[in-house]
Symmetry: C2
Subunit: 286 residues, 2 copies
């Protein structure tokens, strides 16, 4: 028997990974496993054990959603190419019932999306009552790539931090718990992952020449990420900073963050909204 999940963390992931203005991402050990005492094998076992817990909690939320509870959870994943956002969806969100997941991957805005306010396409993709929403990239692209690539004037992206905070506050007030995760992979590890995509024909489709272009602009991206963390790390929608060189670590870390978010909803099975004894008799007679 291995150690219990809670014995493998020095403190809750939400405390250890919470973005902190005194710990800039320039100093982050992207190969680290902060707060986790175990090794890779412990992490892999924990992912299965805690993934099952996550699945149970998600079913509870779904059941409540079907019974009139308006609440939902939204996981926002941000990170450079190869930071493991896709694998996070597959290996963490893959534990829960697909019926309960509202997943959206946000790419380069379409011509139609560009004609609208940057939050227009986000609003349309928000999780419904009882659902676990997952954003693979998000409205934060509009203060990241939009800033680094000068897609809009400085004045415009500068105003967006506040717009985002207001938007998220309203969301939270409407009953959505927002879990924002910024994943950071080191340049060395990123190079290896991109090399693999160039060497394996089953991975070509994941590669884009733009990945190397963005890689060269990491110093500018780092600044944009830091500004994002500094300016939108609110109490109602906090950021968590997750080192992503070790995929197994980032996956259990996000699993813990999600479990924590679900547990804070303090859910129970919804009571029957019908007369149980009467229905038993009706059923028996049918």
């Amino acid at each position: 028997m291995g150690k219990k999940p809670e014995q493998l963390w020095t403190a809750p992931a939400r405390e250890i990974l919470r973005a902190d203005p005194d710990s800039p991402i320039a100093d982050l050990d992207r190969n680290g496993t902060p707060g986790f005492i175990g090794k890779k094998a412990d992490g892999k076992r924990q992912l299965e054990e805690r993934g099952a817990v996550l699945a149970e909690l998600q079913e509870l939320l779904y059941a409540n959603g079907r019974s009139g509870d308006e609440r939902s959870i939204l996981l926002v994943l941000q990170g450079m190419d190869t930071s493991g956002k896709g694998g996070m969806v597959r290996h963490v969100i893959g534990h829960v019932d697909p019926q309960g997941v509202d997943h959206t991957a946000f790419g380069v805005p379409t011509a139609n999306e560009k004609r609208h306010h940057f939050l227009w396409r986000i609003e349309k993709a928000l999780p419904r009552a009882g659902q676990l929403g997952v954003f693979d990239r998000s409205h934060y692209e509009d203060v990241l790539v939009a800033r680094v690539d000068d897609l809009v004037p400085k004045k415009v992206w500068q105003g967006r931090y506040k717009e985002i905070n207001n938007f998220e506050k309203e969301l939270v007030n409407r009953g959505t718990t927002i879990v924002k995760v910024a994943m950071f992979v080191s340049l060395d590890e990123q190079k290896e992952r991109l090399q693999e995509r160039l060497e394996r024909p089953d991975k070509y489709w994941k590669y884009s020449p733009g990945d190397v272009t963005a890689r060269k602009r990491w110093p500018e991206y780092r600044k944009a990420y830091q500004a994002m963390l500094d300016r939108t790390n609110t109490d109602y929608a906090p950021w968590y900073v997750v080192p992503a060189d070790r995929k197994w670590y980032s996956r259990i870390a996000v699993t813990e963050l999600l479990i924590d978010a679900f547990e804070r909803l303090d859910l129970d099975w919804p009571p029957a909204d019908f007369d149980i004894e009467k229905e038993k008799r009706r059923l028996a007679a049918s």
Copy 2:
């Protein structure tokens, strides 16, 4: 070592389960396991093995979708309450990457949906290129409950069979493979499953008094299901009839039907749309 998956079927599931006008559902053994030689334990093992195959095929489709292939697959699940549609999503679709799944559960039409043509909400939920779409209930409700409960005049629902066939033909022409599955549970097994929902507080939310009402009208529903099968079992969008008293059987049967649909797309990994050697040099220098 157990037998290989293909040794456990007397013939491909798509042949055995294809709806057949000479085998009316009144004669269906809903407790049967047609075509499958193994027992429950074999079935459970097969679900894991073949679920992994399904996951690989889905990734291939997703990769091609990202590379310009417009094709998609749509699984349509129809069946009375407790026939196991939800469990099908959880235990079969749960094997594949959530990113590649466009899942929609269709409930009673909303006021807004009622103002539109019955295919309006369906059109909006169709799978995108490269996606596996899953409909838990579908446009077929509009010739099932709509017919049994007289929700629209006879003339209206009678015209819908042809409308549905035309709609599906267009869909297929646009590159969607449609896999339609009608699941049938026996009245005895249904009673047991409903009883369980009335006895376990973690299942109350799945129960609705309407389930018993519909149950009492099974003869009328059977007629409506038979008409649906007779009139919309086209070559381009065939129906499969799946006995659903044994959940493990219905799940491996649908897994096989899906694998077959994916394999007929004859997919390969998309070729690189960039100069591989040049990109290796750019990456090395970055």
